[in-house]
Subunit: 290 residues, 2 copies
């Protein structure tokens, strides 16, 4: 006879530790599903945010460029690469059978666990009926009731116990089998996550192929150049101001010299604190006295 635990005062409640064990295992599995399923659902959004970011910056940098400008080719390579990646990312996001399949399995698995939880609750009726006859028979025997009545209730208890054992064992088996599936379903979810991410990075690498040579040359020129400034190839010695710029950018001073302006201002407007009207009045006064 199974172990007995007190429920409320008199009637003892039969507890099946194995059943409770599998129910709590299934709860663990479901809490993982509840956290992973929505995240797997937002994986494409994470990549979209990235492709949008790269596209926005690349396009904004190109806004005021003209075909004739130096470095126009770098800028345009970036814009085209970002558009290429954006459309690849959109295609992968809306069209990934592996991920769809993994998501579907996760959701069906959650449904299966919830359905077992309902069975687990339904089973309480059978357990209550079994405990009812256990308690009742105890009472009849303690009160020394008549034999035929005891016999009748012994049969009822027998039936209730058979039902209880049948339902419990069937449920334990289902729960154990259901629980075992998580290894396969979670493995498939992990593969789906990595499969999508690999497709995205592969697409990014392909899309940025035309930008890479510019980046590589830029890095080379940075290395070969002792100054903190790269070679002419990418830092536009072709632009007439690149030389002065270099010196100016490379230190913290104001990037140009305003002394000439200041000199001119002070030299030309002797009492620049006075408005021209006051200035004029003084002049007039002076002139009258002439």
């Amino acid at each position: 006879m199974p172990p007995v635990a007190p429920l409320f005062g008199i009637s003892p409640k039969t507890v099946n530790r194995e059943l409770e064990h599998w129910m709590s295992n299934l709860n663990e599995v479901q809490s993982v599903i509840n956290s992973v399923e929505p995240k797997l659902n937002t994986t494409p959004a994470k990549w979209k945010a990235l492709s949008q970011h790269v596209k926005e910056v690349s396009e904004e940098l190109s806004q005021i460029f003209n075909k004739e400008d130096p470095h126009y080719d770098v800028i345009m390579a970036g814009v085209q690469a970002s558009k290429k990646f954006e459309s690849a990312e959109a295609e992968i996001s809306k069209n990934d059978g592996i991920r769809d399949r993994a998501m579907t399995r996760l959701r069906k698995y959650r449904d299966e666990i919830e359905s077992l939880r309902r069975e687990y609750k339904e089973r309480e009726r059978v357990r209550e009926r079994y405990d009812h006859y256990r308690v009742k028979l105890d009472n009849l025997e303690r009160k020394g009731k008549d034999q035929p009545r005891i016999a009748r209730n012994q049969q009822k208890l027998k039936d209730a116990e058979d039902a209880y054992n049948a339902v419990t064992n069937e449920l334990i088996e289902k729960m154990e089998n259901c629980w075992k599936k998580h290894v396969e379903i979670f493995a498939e979810s992990s593969i789906a996550l990595w499969h999508m991410s690999m497709r995205m990075t592969d697409e990014f690498a392909q899309s940025s192929e035309n930008v890479r040579p510019f980046v590589d040359d830029y890095l080379k020129s940075m290395k070969n150049n002792d100054s903190s400034f790269p070679s002419q190839d990418y830092m536009g010695a072709d632009s007439p101001v690149s030389e002065p710029t270099k010196e100016k950018i490379s230190n913290n001073d104001s990037t140009f010299d305003t002394s000439e302006l200041k000199k001119t201002l002070s030299a030309k407007s002797v009492n620049s604190t006075l408005g021209h009207e006051e200035h004029e009045k003084q002049e007039e006064a002076l002139e009258e006295t002439v």
Copy 2:
């Protein structure tokens, strides 16, 4: 003499279209900087969000796995790859000289434009002084004032005009030279953006090397298998429930059969709608009549 536009009623204001042209060009450049600089600043955050996402999902999927479980190797490959990428991503984010350099140049360039805007405003004093003597001389001449006084003011106008032209031409040259720098600085920003993104994707590809074989085998097994279900290699035929699971997952039916439980329940609890207490009372009544 430069074109004249009315300011407020009497005094006409001298306008230099070239200066206004360069000021508005510089405003265009600065609006790009103001938008791009903060975005370039958040590029690492975009990648961090991605690596966090991949790591969270991979780790949560591994939470209730045991070494002995089938597919443990796929799960662990994912966890290790996500950790590897997370640390690579963190390293790139905090240590990217190319991006730091591009950001610094963008900020200094913005400072340079703002400093020119201040010069542009300072120049108004010289312009006002020039316009003042133009207007004054006009009045003196219209009023037919005495020649010495007119001559004196002609000299003042001459000096004011020289100052005005010197300051204006100096500023125009500075503005044009400053504006030209955007091609080089924006190109460097674009290279910085792509350089970081390429490093990230390269690191992701490297980190996920150990996951790729699992993904590839999974894809192969999906292809070779006519059923929507992949081969045993990755779908754990080693797990005793994998076969029934497969059939059940592949259609929309509840993934297991509850009929047996329902049968048992209805068979064993004849009037399950009545509580056992009512049930018992009926019995007692019956028994008294015996």
